[in-house]
């Protein structure tokens, strides 16, 4: 059972197809637009938390009075991300966020939909403020980055959720996998009426 975050991160990065990885020119595009992102940080952060707080289920993730702390944290994430080197430490940080999300009960459905919202805002602002070819390059680089971040956080969440169960109960991951396999066919059978094709 792999619990070394850096080793796991490297394994997860290997799962990403070559053409979806960040290339040097993507990193340069992102780094060159640090000022653009910083100028949009307030818009992104405000919209992000307005959206989360407008929904009862997502609002419940936060403690009373926590919003200013989280807003600062998201603004720092944007600055650190866009100005970053996208090295091993950066990707390991994203994998770490998956564990944090378990602790905070930020399930992957919330995380995925909100990352999509950020992407929507970033791309919209880019096309509003930048020449079309520059906005297109930024869109490509941003979507690659968002895809990698999403895959690391979501798989880390899933993996470490199982690791936590495994370490608490003593049930090895292989055995957990077997327990799932003996039940999954029943789940498919019970829900087959929802299959459209």
């Amino acid at each position: 059972m792999e619990t070394d975050l850096m080793v796991l991160t490297e394994k997860l990065l290997e799962h990403i197809p070559e053409n979806l990885r960040l290339k040097e020119n993507d990193i340069k595009v992102l780094n060159d637009h640090l000022d653009f992102f910083l100028s949009k940080a307030d818009i992104i952060v405000k919209d992000f938390y307005d959206t989360l707080f407008s929904n009862e289920a997502t609002r419940k993730v936060f403690h009373e009075g926590e919003r200013p702390i989280r807003e600062k944290s998201l603004a720092e994430w944007v600055a650190k991300t866009i100005g970053g080197k996208f090295d091993k430490d950066y990707w390991a940080w994203q994998t770490f966020v998956g564990i944090l999300h378990i602790k905070r009960k930020v399930t992957n459905d919330y995380m995925l939909i909100m990352m999509h919202r950020i992407s929507d805002l970033v791309i919209g602002e880019a096309y509003k403020d930048l020449p079309a070819d520059e906005a297109a390059a930024l869109k490509t680089a941003w979507l690659k980055l968002a895809g990698i971040v999403l895959s690391l956080i979501s798989e880390s969440y899933h993996y470490f959720y199982l690791v936590a169960i495994s370490q608490t109960t003593g049930i090895k991951l292989n055995l957990l996998d077997n327990l799932v396999r003996v039940e999954v066919d029943n789940l498919l059978e019970a829900n087959k009426k929802y299959r459209l094709i």
Binding site: T169, G170, I171, N174, L175, N178, L179
Partner: protein, 116 residues
């Protein structure tokens, strides 16, 4: 495996039991008799063994030697065969625990001989 099946069959007869499964530590069945769903029972048997080991670890005890579940319909005995195998025996209400433990130990000894 023929030898394993013979050992398990004999264990069932000697203990007036209903079903038996031999599973590996990943929860896969190596041999089973009369279990409705070998895969499920093997996985659950290995899980119970793992959870009991982790449970006793919290009290600084060595690994558990056996788990005996008493129900109105009889006993369910789970016993480690070795580090990689675990045995589950489902016995009826007329089965005697002393006989169960005696023959389970004998079966475990013979199973280990198969894997030497």
């Amino acid at each position: 495996m023929k030898n394993l099946d013979a050992i398990l069959q004999e264990l069932l007869m000697n203990t007036d039991s209903e079903a038996v499964v031999l599973a590996n530590s990943d929860g896969l069945p190596l041999a089973a008799i009369n279990t409705k769903d070998d895969n499920r029972i093997a996985a659950l048997t290995a899980s119970l063994q793992s959870m009991t080991d982790r449970f006793v670890e919290n009290f600084n005890r060595d690994k558990s030697k056996q788990i005996i579940v008493e129900t109105d319909q009889g006993y369910i005995t789970i016993k480690r065969v070795n580090d990689n195998l675990v045995l589950m025996l489902l016995s009826g209400e007329n089965a005697k625990l002393g006989m169960i433990l005696l023959y389970v130990d004998d079966a475990i000894k013979r199973i280990n001989e198969v894997f030497v």
